[in-house]
Amino acid sequence: MDLIQGLLQIAGGIATTLAISIFSLILGLAIGLPLSFVRTYGKSLRFLVDGFEKIFRGIPELVLMLLFYFGIGASFPFPFKNAFFTAVFVLGLRSGANQSQIFRGAIRGIGEEQMVASRSLGLSRLRSIAYVMIPQVFIFSTPGLGSEYALLVKDSAYAFIIGVPEIMKKADLVRAQTYSYLVPYFAAAVFYILLTFPIATWLDVWGSRRKKKLGL
């Protein structure tokens, strides 16, 4: 196997790496955004959110991945014997815990006054959250979301351990076929940088511009 072939094989994992990262980012958003508002406004459910955050931020991704795929997957082959699903599921939960904290900080930064102004017009709490708070939460959170995305791209490499054919897995295959340790892993490193750095930076710049324009 020549070098070009090997690199192409590793590049073939890019789509899967991106898919894991983006799906888990979206799952994390679907979990984290509601949780951040529950944590801010819901009095009685607060401890549940805190518990969820502590658990999923406190356990290494590798442990979660193995636990769900081999452990829980033994009793529930559907859906946990699907390695891709389990990778997205585990990283999505972890990301939900992170994003909940990111968004909570944004809500605090926006301030209670925006909520009061909206309620004074007769908007319900839910509508105020949807039309006044959430648009500003996203603008506030862009740097945090950028680094969360980068974190997910990097952590998607853990999916290698349960056999998802992403960059890391492919690099390891090429390593096994070529007996070269340096080139495949180095190629993987370069691909990860290319996937994380531009998007995270772009989000950061876009967010700062938007914030400056709106005086947030």
């Binding site: 006054e113 925006q114 309620r119 004074s120 017009l121 007769g122 006044v132 709106l214 005086g215």
Partner: protein, 246 residues
């Protein structure tokens, strides 16, 4: 609008509203003034049901807003509130700020809401800034948009909490002019303010509020010439001296 025996206590034993009864009729303009920290803002917020009173009742056009089971969102939709620190929605441009409640509360169609929002902005002479974001506007312009946002729903009453006191002196004039226009149109207004020349000109009644309660009520003339209570007398003297210095 009317309130009876209204109470609001903040822990620990800080009484912002102490057994206040008050009435304002349609088309009337009343002005509340008094020392800072005396509970004027809390009183206004209680009337708008933004802060829920501990005891007592608030009535709007005969309808009790304080009894259980009242839809507070619907009640608030009938009241216009203008904040001292404005609180425009920073992610929306001027017209977006005014439109939001028309769309989401009154459920107007996109076209109707836009048209009504433009009318409201025209009333405060801000139609030329409709597409600008709050950060691009001066404080006085922001407050005029804040007023447009409050009046666009055609509320039964407009409550204004020190609408000019967070602005530079040179910017208060344009906001006062806007309020003068609203007064000329017959808008029912309850204003917390220390703008005495303005009060003298438009207020039907002035209310001196101190230590959580209404101390003295009367026409502006009474306060400028011969306040009845000692506290009002002292306060007016200081206020007039301050106005003269400026």
């Amino acid at each position: 609008m009317e309130c009876k025996d209204l109470w609001k206590t903040y822990k620990p034993n800080l009484v912002a509203v102490k057994d206040v009864s008050f009435k304002i009729d349609e088309g009337e303009i009343k002005l509340i003034f008094g020392p800072s920290g005396s509970g004027k803002s809390t009183f206004l917020r209680c009337l708008a049901m933004l802060t829920l009173p501990d005891k007592g009742d608030v009535f709007l056009k005969g309808e009790c807003l304080t009894k259980t089971g009242v839809n507070l969102n619907k009640a608030r939709a009938r009241i216009g509130f203008v904040f001292q620190h404005i609180y425009l929605f920073r992610h929306l441009n001027a017209i977006g700020n005014v439109e939001l409640a028309l769309r989401q509360v009154l459920k107007m169609s996109k076209g109707d809401a836009r048209q009504r929002a433009l009318e409201a902005l025209t009333e405060v002479r801000m139609e030329q800034c409709a597409n600008q974001y709050p950060a691009q506007l001066s404080g006085g312009q922001q407050q005029r948009v804040g007023i447009a946002r409050a009046i666009a729903r055609n509320p039964d009453i407009l409550l204004l909490d020190e609408p000019t006191s967070a602005l530079d002196p040179e910017l208060t004039g344009e906001v006062i002019d806007t309020l003068r226009d609203l007064a000329a149109m017959g808008t029912t207004m309850l204003i917390v303010s220390h703008e005495m020349p303005f009060a003298r000109e438009v207020a039907h009644e002035m209310i001196f509020y101190d230590e959580g309660t209404i101390v003295e009520t009367g026409p502006p003339q009474q306060f400028f010439t011969n306040p009845q209570s000692d506290r009002a007398k002292k306060f007016m003297t200081r206020l007039i001296m301050k106005t003269k210095r400026e």
